[in-house]
C-alpha cells in the first residue's frame, strides 16, 4: 500500500471504529424520527380535565346548540349577573350572549381570567357558525336551498405534472421537491461543516502532540494532509450511506406502520396520519423525484465542497497552536458557510432566480445551494459548469492550503499574521 493509502486507512478506521461514530450514526436518524413523532404525539394529547364554561344566554336560543365535549363542559346560567354573584365555582370561562346573533353578530363575549385556548374559541365559533348558517338559510324560506348551496361548493384539484421531452407525464409536487431539497441542503451543510472541522481537529491534534515531526520525517506533508482529508471524507460518506440505508428501512417499516395502525392512535394532529390516502400520494410523488440522481449529485457536490472547506480547515489547524486560536480563523469560514446555507433556504422559494443561480455556480456556496435546486430539475449544463468550477477550485485550494500546511505544521510559538501566511505561500 502506498503511504497515502496507509494514512487514509488509519484516519478512516480509527474514526469509524469509535463508539461515538457508531452510536451517532444509528442514533441520529432515530432521534430525528422520535423528535418528529414525539412532537405530534405530545401536541395531540388532550388535557385530562374537562373545563367548565358557564353560558349566560340572555336570548335563551343558543345554549342547546353548544354541545359539551370531552374537554369542555357547558353549563347554563340565568344571566351574567347571576353568574357574577355565584362565582365560587371552578369556572374556566364564561360565555355571555346578549342579543340575537343573526342580527347582532358581536353580541357574544367570552370572559375568562386566563387567556383561553384557541381550541375553545374554535369549538364555540364552529358550533355556532354552523347553526347560524342553517338558521339564515332557513330564514330565506326557499325550499331545498341548503342542498343547492352544498352542491354549489366546488373544489378544484390541481394536478401538477412534469412534461418531459418525449411527452411522458409524471406527477410532480413543488412541496415535495422543496422538502427534499431542503433536507439535502441541511445534510450537505452539516456534513461539510462537521467533517471539515474534524479535519482541523485532527491536524491540530497532530501538531500539538508533536507527532507531526515524526510523521514528516517519513511522509511528505502533502500526503499527510491529503490522507487526513480523504480518510475523514470517506467517514462522512460512510455515514451518509448508512443513513440512506437506515432511512430506506424506516420508510419501509414506517409505511407499513401507518397503513396498519388506527389513524386516531397516531394523533389526530397530523393530517398525514389522519389521511392514509395522502400519505400514499406523498410517497407516490416522492418516488417520482429522482432519488438516484439526487444522491449522485450529493456525492459529487459533497466531495467538492468538503475538499474545499476541509483543505481550508487543514490549513487553519496547521497555522494555530491551540484550540482557542482557531476561533479567529473559523469566523469568516462560518459566515461563508452560513451564507451558503441561507442562500440555499431562500432558493427554495425561487429555485431558478438569480440568487439561486449564482450561488449555485460560485464554488464556495455551490455545493450547498445546488442541493436545494437539484429536485427542481436543473439544466444539465448548469450542473456541469458548477461541477467543473467546483473541482477547479478544489485543485487550486488544495495547492494553496498544502503550502500553508507544510510550513505551518512545523511552526510553533506565535500565531502567524496575514503577512507571514502570504510569505509561506511563496516558500
Amino acid at each position: 500500500m502506498s503511504k497515502l493509502g496507509i494514512i487514509i486507512n488509519r484516519e478512516y478506521f480509527t474514526r469509524v471504529r469509535k463508539k461515538s461514530f457508531i452510536v451517532m450514526t444509528f442514533l441520529t436518524p432515530v432521534l430525528f424520527v422520535a423528535l418528529i413523532l414525539g412532537t405530534f404525539l405530545l401536541s395531540s394529547i388532550k388535557d385530562g380535565e374537562s373545563k367548565t364554561i358557564v353560558v349566560a344566554d340572555e336570548t335563551n336560543k343558543y345554549f342547546d346548540v353548544l354541545k359539551s365535549t370531552d374537554q369542555y363542559q357547558f353549563i347554563k346560567s340565568k344571566s351574567f349577573d347571576d353568574f357574577r354573584n355565584n362565582s365560587d365555582k371552578q369556572v374556566y370561562a364564561t360565555l355571555v350572549i346578549s342579543d340575537d346573533l343573526l342580527k347582532n353578530p358581536s353580541a357574544i363575549t367570552l370572559y375568562s381570567e386566563k387567556q383561553v385556548t384557541n381550541d375553545l374559541e374554535r369549538t364555540i365559533s364552529n358550533q355556532l357558525n354552523e347553526y347560524l348558517s342553517d338558521e339564515k338559510i332557513a330564514s330565506y324560506d326557499i325550499p331545498g336551498l341548503k342542498q343547492i348551496l352544498n352542491e354549489s361548493k366546488v373544489s378544484i384539484n390541481l394536478q401538477t405534472k412534469r412534461l418531459s421531452e418525449d411527452g411522458t407525464e409524471t406527477e410532480a409536487s413543488a412541496t415535495v421537491a422543496s422538502i427534499v431539497g431542503m433536507a439535502f441542503t441541511l445534510i450537505i451543510y452539516m456534513f461539510i461543516f462537521i467533517y471539515g472541522a474534524m479535519v482541523m481537529q485532527g491536524v491540530l491534534e497532530e501538531k500539538t502532540n508533536r507527532i507531526v515531526e515524526v510523521m514528516v520525517s517519513s511522509v511528505k506533508p502533502f500526503d499527510l494532509m491529503m490522507g487526513k482529508i480523504i480518510g475523514i471524507g470517506l467517514v462522512g460518506l460512510t455515514q451518509f450511506f448508512l443513513w440512506v440505508g437506515l432511512i430506506a428501512v424506516f420508510n419501509f417499516l414506517g409505511g407499513a406502520f401507518f397503513m396498519a395502525s388506527n389513524p386516531d392512535v397516531i394523533g389526530t394532529g397530523t393530517e398525514i396520519a389522519a389521511n392514509p390516502g395522502m400519505m400514499q400520494k406523498a410517497l407516490q410523488v416522492l418516488s417520482t423525484i429522482n432519488i438516484a440522481e439526487i444522491i449522485l449529485c450529493f456525492i459529487i457536490f459533497f466531495i467538492g465542497g468538503y475538499m474545499i472547506y476541509a483543505s481550508i480547515f487543514a490549513a487553519i489547524g496547521a497555522m494555530v497552536n491551540s484550540q482557542e486560536d482557531t476561533q479567529q480563523f473559523m469566523m469568516p469560514i462560518s459566515i461563508l458557510v452560513l451564507f451558503a446555507f441561507y442562500a440555499g433556504i431562500y432558493s427554495v422559494e425561487n429555485p431558478d432566480g438569480p440568487l439561486a443561480f449564482w450561488a449555485s455556480m460560485i464554488p464556495l456556496t455551490s455545493p450547498i445551494v445546488m442541493m436545494t435546486r437539484i429536485p427542481f430539475d436543473v439544466p444539465l449544463w448548469e450542473k456541469l459548469v458548477s461541477i467543473v468550477l467546483l473541482f477547479g477550485t478544489v485543485l487550486l485550494m488544495v495547492k494553496l492550503t498544502a503550502k500553508i500546511y507544510r510550513v505551518g505544521i512545523l511552526m510553533y510559538g506565535k500565531k502567524p499574521g496575514m503577512k507571514e501566511i502570504i510569505k509561506w505561500l511563496k516558500y
Partner: protein, 302 residues
C-alpha cells in the same frame, strides 16, 4: 568515507538566517555529537538531513552522493519534541509508524514483538498511549525510531525526560546500535554524555559551525597547561620562568594541593622531571578541559 556530509548548507527564514554555510562530516559507524545552544540551528539542520525541509543552497551527501527521496527509509529520527497519537493503541500505532517507514504489516509486527519483548513492554500492546507514563511512552517512541533498522539514527536530546535507570538503558541501546555499525547523530546539551559516547562533534552557534572534530583531539587542543600537583613539605621550590602557582587548596591532615601552570616551551615530562628534582611529589595530573568548559568558552567567544 563519510556516511553523511552537508556542504555549505544555507537556510534563510523570514526574519533570520538559520544556517550559514554549515558543513559537517559524519564518519560511518561513529557517534556524532551535534552541539550548540538553543536556537543555534541544530533542529533546522536535522530537518534538512531528514528531508523535511530543503536547504536554500548547499547540499547534503549520503554515502558520497546527493540524498534522494528513498533515503528517509534509512534514517531513524527521534525528535526533541516527542509525540505519538494519544488515543491510539500502542501496538497499532507502532505498526502504523513502521509501515510508513516502508515495512510490511507482518514484518512490522514481527520486529515490534522482538523489541517489545526486549524492553519487556509486550503487555502494553493493547493499551492506549495515554494510559502509559511519560517514561513508558519514550520507550515506545524509541522502538518506533529504530524499528526499520536504519543505517543512520538521529537522536535529538534523547535523554530529556528519562529517569536515570532508563537513561542508562537508552545509552546502552545507542552504544549497541553503534556496535552494529550504525551511524548516529546525537544532538544534546548534556556535555557529560557527549564525553561519554560521542566520537566526533560539531558545535553550532549563531547558525555557524564554530568548532568541529574528534572529541579527544578537541579536548587536547583546548588544554591550558594547568596541572594539579601535590607536594609534601613546604615551601615548594620552583623556577618562575618555567611555571607558576595559580592556586592552592589547604586542608588539615592532607598535603597542600596546588594548581600550576607551565609555560608552553616545556613538555609535560620536562615539567614533571623538573618538579621531581627539588620536591617530594605526591601526585601529578594534567587538567584536561571538559566538553562543558569548551562549550561555554567557545560559545562565549564567538
Amino acid at each position: 568515507m563519510y556516511f553523511l556530509e552537508t556542504k555549505n548548507v544555507v537556510k534563510q527564514y523570514a526574519n533570520h538566517l538559520a544556517l550559514d554555510q554549515v558543513s559537517i562530516r559524519v564518519p560511518e559507524g561513529k557517534i556524532f555529537g551535534l552541539l550548540g545552544p538553543n536556537g543555534a540551528g541544530k533542529t533546522t539542520l536535522i530537518r534538512i538531513i531528514n528531508r523535511i525541509t530543503a536547504p536554500d543552497t548547499g547540499e547534503v551527501l549520503f554515502q558520497g552522493r546527493p540524498t534522494v527521496e528513498n533515503d528517509i527509509y534509512n534514517i531513524g529520527y527521534l525528535p526533541e519534541e516527542r509525540g505519538l497519537y494519544k488515543k491510539m493503541k500502542v501496538g497499532e500505532q507502532s505498526i502504523y509508524l513502521a509501515r510508513l517507514k516502508g515495512l510490511s504489516n507482518d514484518e512490522a509486527k514481527k520486529r515490534l514483538t522482538v523489541w517489545f519483548e526486549k524492553f519487556d513492554i509486550m503487555s502494553w500492546w493493547n493499551k492506549k498511549l495515554e494510559e502509559l507514563s511519560k517514561g513508558m511512552q519514550q520507550k515506545v517512541q524509541f522502538v518506533t525510531t529504530v524499528i526499520h533498522d536504519p543505517q543512520l539514527l538521529i537522536f535529538d536530546e534523547p535523554f530529556s525526560g528519562f529517569d536515570p535507570v532508563n537513561t542508562e538503558l537508552l545509552k546502552n541501546e545507542i552504544l549497541e546500535l553503534k556496535d552494529k555499525g550504525k551511524t548516529i547523530i546525537f544532538s544534546t546539551h548534556n556535555m557529560a554524555s557527549v564525553e561519554e559516547i560521542c566520537d566526533e562533534i560539531a558545535l553550532i552557534n549563531h547558525s555557524k559551525v564554530v568548532l568541529s572534530g574528534n572529541v579527544d583531539e578537541i579536548r587536547s587542543n583546548h588544554r591550558t597547561n594547568t596541572f594539579k600537583v601535590q607536594i609534601a613539605g613546604d615551601p615548594v621550590k620552583i623556577d618562575p620562568t618555567k611555571c607558576k602557582i595559580i592556586g592552592e587548596e589547604r586542608k588539615p591532615h592532607t598535603p597542600v594541593l596546588l594548581r600550576m601552570e607551565k609555560t608552553n616551551e616545556i613538555s609535560n615530562s620536562e615539567f614533571l622531571s623538573y618538579l621531581l628534582k627539588d620536591n617530594e611529589l605526591l601526585s601529578f595530573q594534567e587538567e584536561i578541559p571538559s566538553m562543558n568548559d569548551i562549550f561555554i568558552k567557545t560559545v562565549n567567544n564567538s
